[in-house]
């Protein structure tokens, strides 16, 4: 860990001013990932700008029936927020599938989006990693890649995004509100995280001088038919091998609207419009689920240790869609899969 300066931001404008003035600075909120990265010498910010005092801690219903979640709302508060539990249980469930109680207490909503991959090589400064040190090479492609991506990979990087919460936000088509020197803008969730391409060091489309202020959920919450299912190497406190967020609107046994997002398989929460379209209008039955899974995984490519994820993802999609259709969502406190 290197020496760094510490500064506190008074408000959003001050935070933007400070980050714009210093390209070697980094915002810190819960610090649940950043502090680890600093200890491992992976992140070397010269200045931490503490944003924990900003007024971004409220959850408010919006005029169009949605929900605006302040970027600093702790993950645990969000998961147990009565409106979220009632109207967006998919989000609540996904948050509770992640990390541990202690980490969720510390982690912020905005920070969850900004967490970095858990690829082993990214964390070990003794090994090459394009994400950590652009141009040094990807060690995972021919290395230990059990936990790495099967979709949207590039020659330069096969890392995954580790978040559970973001998989639900992708399925719910959230918007990310950000503020920068040029003012505020909103980024569609699907556009927030990037694929690695030839620039894997860039995780998101957030600009270096911007700050996340809020996440906005649209009115549609899929509270009746949803499920978040996370498959991992132990029953808690492990990152997903594969996770699935499924959200359906049913009408007379047929699927009126469908959302399907995968976690643990790509550099960003993975959705495919064609797969969701294939579900619409179909009976909520395994034939349709299998077809969606097939489309979603059509371009999946395994590496030496993670090819199993393709079949696992297919099975998990079938199960999660069935849970959603049957209104028997996975309960995160129970490790028995429904």
């Amino acid at each position: 860990m290197i020496n760094f300066e510490y500064a506190r931001a008074r408000d959003v404008a001050d935070a933007v001013r400070q980050i714009s003035a210093d390209p070697a600075a980094t915002f810190i909120a819960g610090g649940t990932n950043l502090i680890d990265l600093m200890k491992y010498d992976v992140a070397r910010p010269m200045r931490l700008i503490d944003i924990t005092h900003l007024a971004l801690k409220t959850v408010e219903e919006t005029a169009n029936g949605g929900l605006r979640i302040g970027a600093l709302v702790p993950n645990s508060d969000l998961a147990y927020h009565p409106v979220v539990e009632k109207r967006y249980p998919l989000l609540s469930s996904a948050i509770l599938a992640g990390a541990s109680q202690q980490l969720r207490n510390m982690a912020s909503t905005g920070g969850n989006l900004m967490q970095r991959t858990r690829c082993f090589y990214f964390y070990d400064v003794a090994t090459p990693c394009n994400k950590r040190e652009p141009g040094s090479g990807c060690s995972a492609i021919n290395g230990i890649n059990r936990i790495n991506a099967i979709l949207g990979t590039s020659e330069a990087c096969i890392a995954t995004h580790p978040s559970d919460m973001c998989v639900a936000l992708a399925a719910l088509e959230a918007k990310v509100h950000v503020a920068g020197p040029a003012g505020e803008r909103a980024i569609a969730f699907a556009e927030f995280h990037r694929l690695p391409g030839d620039r894997p060091e860039v995780d998101t489309n957030l600009k270096a001088d911007e700050i996340i202020t809020a996440i906005e959920l649209p009115a549609r919450g899929f509270a009746a038919n949803y499920s978040y299912l996370k498959i991992r190497d132990r029953l808690s406190y492990a990152f997903a091998l594969v996770s699935v967020a499924a959200a359906l609107e049913l009408e007379g046994g047929r699927i009126k609207e469908a959302r399907l997002a995968l976690g643990g398989v790509a550099h960003k929460p993975w959705r495919n419009a064609e797969a969701e379209a294939a579900l619409r209008g179909q009976p909520a039955k395994s034939d349709a689920f299998a077809r969606a899974a097939e489309i979603l995984l059509r371009d999946a490519k395994g590496f030496a240790h993670n090819a199993f994820k393709i079949d696992l993802a297919r099975r998990a999609i079938l199960r999660t869609l069935a849970q959603a259709a049957n209104a028997t969502p996975q309960i995160q406190s129970s490790k028995k899969i429904r």
Binding site: M1, S139, I231, D233, R234, S236, R315
Partner: protein, 732 residues
């Protein structure tokens, strides 16, 4: 009252929960210097250049030690030897420019603050001349060489195997597993008494570390005192002195100041570990389930500089009756640190393979797995053709099966279900040794009815403080609150390292034989009293009970020990004694267990839950049913981890551990652990030692991974022989 055999709460429990119990990295001194280690990033080669100038330039950095400027160290292997070192040339931290494994310590940064030392450590520049390394056991099998055979073969296993009616032959694999005790390895070295060192170290053997440090630095035993009053888990990792104690002493000698060095979690992956092992088991049986031959071959890894091996194989035809048996143990040398003991070393791995193989044989014979084990049950140690001091394994099977409800099991795989889960019931046998060692002990009894009992053993969280207090209380007839236990200090009476499950039996024997002498002295004092009710009695005719010396024949004939001592003008009685067990070559000494496990496996997704486990243990007399049950329960949890989670992932291109942290090196978390029932089967044994104690530190893990694997087979019909059993192996 008597304390032995009761669930006495830990005497050190309050100190632990209130935080007053101090661990090696918590001791301090006014002029404390903090160390941080720089480790190698290649697996083999030499350091071409090491440049500490940037680190030295950081304010607060006092020195950077490397092989180029470290204090003088012994030049021969003998100087680095320790009580449990395997054959070979022990690793010498910062000795020269050679790199023998990835993660090897190559520099020690010493600074006024820990944060400064840690930062400066990132600034040490190293150039290597790297050489081609080899870290993969699977690529070196053909280079593996035979080590001294664990036990002699008997009969002709190959011939019997070829002629057998039913044969099972398979290869099992256990990956590298690393120690992850909660307490990081740490040493704090302080100066006192004009130039003497006190070393607070995380270790299972303070006297072993003391001799080791003296050997390396040419110090006299009086100049080095090693202390380890509390240890936050060790399980074998602290049997040998670890490199941080050498580095901390180097720093202290160099700066003539106190030094504290705490390793980081990832640096712990440069220490010892359970070696990756390939186990090949061949069993030949008759149709009735009796065995004709067992062949067990193990191929394990070791370092280039030491030959570490444990008994993996000869448990096989020790446990089951077979006229023909053959064992082989081979080692492959790799560019890795030397493996170390880890809870039930050899047995945890070897018996895993054996007990899976037995399960496969039971399937082939269409026999119930418990029934098969009863049909080849052996009342004798066949390897040495000896009777056991005691062996209540049949009772373990019976009680374990009954508590588990084994009779309701349907034999066919995939035949039991719970909704979308496949249910599997598996079982296995466990076996370990009942070892015992010479042990010193000192008892100081004062006339106010208090006793201090001490010896240089360790309590690694297992409950040694508590059982020593229990045994001493019973032997001296004092309430447990009047007994103080001291351990973990090299200046105390002799102790071997605390390992091999031998501590309970050894220390209990040492306490009782020393207490015998106290009793003898007390009786002599009591008999000097005028009209003594104990006149004419021999010391074996009396016991110490309720603070009195009491005639066995008549409880009414008694003298309070305070009266006897005061009458004799004796304020304190001190006795110290080294107790050695009588040699007994006529018996085998073992502990046994039967483990029953239920798993539920999601049929579609392959997700495994271990929903129930019963471990029935026969281990002689149990001194403390509470701490002993905790040991067994912890062992079962570890066994679940061994079966389903634990695996050190080495990138062989770099020769480097890639999951060197406890987020990615998986051990069971609460969600993975459900109902665990521990049963201690009555096993009276007056032959093994006078108190009939056998030790429970290791038996609890042996067989657990096999029971889980067998349950997974029963649930799914899928036989996974490579640990850990992960989802991909179930679905694949």
């Amino acid at each position: 009252m008597t304390y032995i055999g009761t669930p006495t709460p830990r005497v050190d429990g309050r100190a632990k929960v209130t935080g007053s119990a101090q661990y090696a990295g918590e001791f301090t001194a006014p002029d404390l210097v903090y160390g941080s280690v720089v480790t190698s990033t290649i697996a083999k080669g030499r350091i071409a250049r090491i440049d500490a100038s940037q680190a030295l330039a950081v304010e607060g950095v006092l020195d950077v030690l490397t092989h180029e400027n470290r204090p003088k160290m012994a030049s021969g292997d003998k100087g680095y030897n320790d009580e449990v070192a395997p054959t070979g040339s022990p690793f010498r931290p910062l000795f020269d420019d050679k790199i023998k494994f990835n993660g090897q310590p190559i520099a020690l940064v010493l600074a006024e603050e820990w944060e400064i030392s840690r930062f400066a450590a990132t600034l040490v520049q190293v150039d290597y001349d790297a050489e081609t390394h080899s870290t993969d056991l699977h690529t070196r099998i053909d280079k593996a060489y035979m080590v001294e055979k664990p036990d002699k073969p008997r009969g002709n296993a190959a011939k019997a195997h070829a002629a057998a009616a039913v044969r099972h032959e398979a290869e099992y694999y256990i990956p590298i597993e690393h120690h992850n005790p909660m307490e990081l390895f740490a040493s704090t070295v302080t100066w006192n008494d004009g130039g003497k060192l006190t070393v607070f170290d995380k270790t299972q053997g303070v006297q072993n570390v003391q001799r080791y440090i003296c050997g390396i630095f040419g110090l006299k035993p009086d100049d080095v005192r090693v202390m380890s009053p509390f240890v936050g888990g060790a399980f074998g990792s602290g049997l040998r002195p670890q490199y941080q104690v050498v580095l901390a002493v180097q720093g202290a000698l160099q700066l003539k100041r106190a030094v504290r060095l705490v390793l980081t979690r990832d640096q712990m992956y440069g220490l010892g570990y359970r070696p990756a092992t390939i186990e090949r088991v061949a069993i030949a049986a008759r149709n009735d389930g009796t065995l004709d031959a067992i062949t067990h071959e193990a191929i394990a890894m070791t370092s280039q500089y030491e030959e570490f091996s444990r008994n993996d194989t000869s448990w096989s035809a020790l446990l089951y009756k077979s006229a023909n048996a053959k064992y082989e143990h081979k080692l492959a040398r790799l560019d890795v640190p030397t493996p170390s003991d880890m809870r039930a070393p050899g047995a945890a791995t070897g018996v895993y393979a054996l007990e899976c193989a037995m399960d496969e044989l039971a399937v082939a014979l269409k026999l119930d797995p418990v029934e098969l084990r009863l049909r080849c049950y052996s009342d004798r140690d066949q390897n040495n053709d000896l009777p056991y001091t005691s062996k209540q394994l049949k009772e373990c099977y019976r009680k374990g099966a009954e508590a588990f409800g084994w009779a309701k099991r349907t034999p066919e795989p995939r035949s039991m279900r719970d909704g979308t889960d496949l249910v599997g019931w598996g079982m296995a046998t466990g076996v370990w040794e009942a070892l015992q060692m010479p042990m010193g002990n000192r008892i100081v009894l004062t006339a106010n009815g208090h006793a201090e009992v001490s010896c240089a053993t360790s309590d690694i969280g297992t409950g040694t403080y508590t059982i020593m207090a229990q045994v001493a209380s019973d032997a001296l007839g004092l309430p447990i609150d009047n007994v103080t236990v001291k351990l973990g200090d090299s200046s105390l009476p002799h102790s071997q390292v605390e390992g091999g499950s031998w501590t309970a039996a050894s220390v209990a024997y040492a306490i009782t034989t020393t207490a015998d002498e106290i009793r003898r002295e007390l009786l002599a004092l009591a008999q000097k009293m005028p009209g003594s009710p104990l006149a004419g009695l021999k010391h074996d005719d009396v016991v110490l009970s309720d603070g009195m010396i009491v005639a066995k024949a008549a409880a009414s004939r008694s003298v309070p020990l305070a009266d006897a001592m005061r009458h004799g003008g004796v304020e304190r009685i001190e006795r110290e004694k080294l107790s050695e067990f009588k040699e007994d070559n006529k018996h085998a000494r073992n502990t046994h267990s039967a483990i029953f496990v239920e798993v539920k496996v999601d049929e579609q997704l392959g997700v495994i839950r271990v929903t129930r486990a019963v471990n029935a243990v026969a281990a002689g007399r149990i001194i403390n049913t509470k701490t002993a049950a905790s040991q067994i329960m912890g062992s079962v949890v570890w066994g679940i981890g061994m079966a389903l989670h634990e695996e050190t992932l080495v990138d062989h291109a770099f020769g480097r551990v890639m999951n060197a942290n406890i987020a990615e090196y998986h051990v069971p978390v609460n969600a993975d652990v459900h109902d665990i029932k521990v049963i201690f089967v009555e096993e009276p044994d007056s032959t093994v030692n006078p108190l009939g104690i056998k030790g429970v530190g290791e038996i609890g893990i042996v067989g657990v991974a096999a029971a889980v694997a067998n349950a997974v087979y029963h649930a799914t019909g899928k036989r996974v022989r490579d640990l850990p059993i992960t989802i991909d192996k179930i679905l694949g």
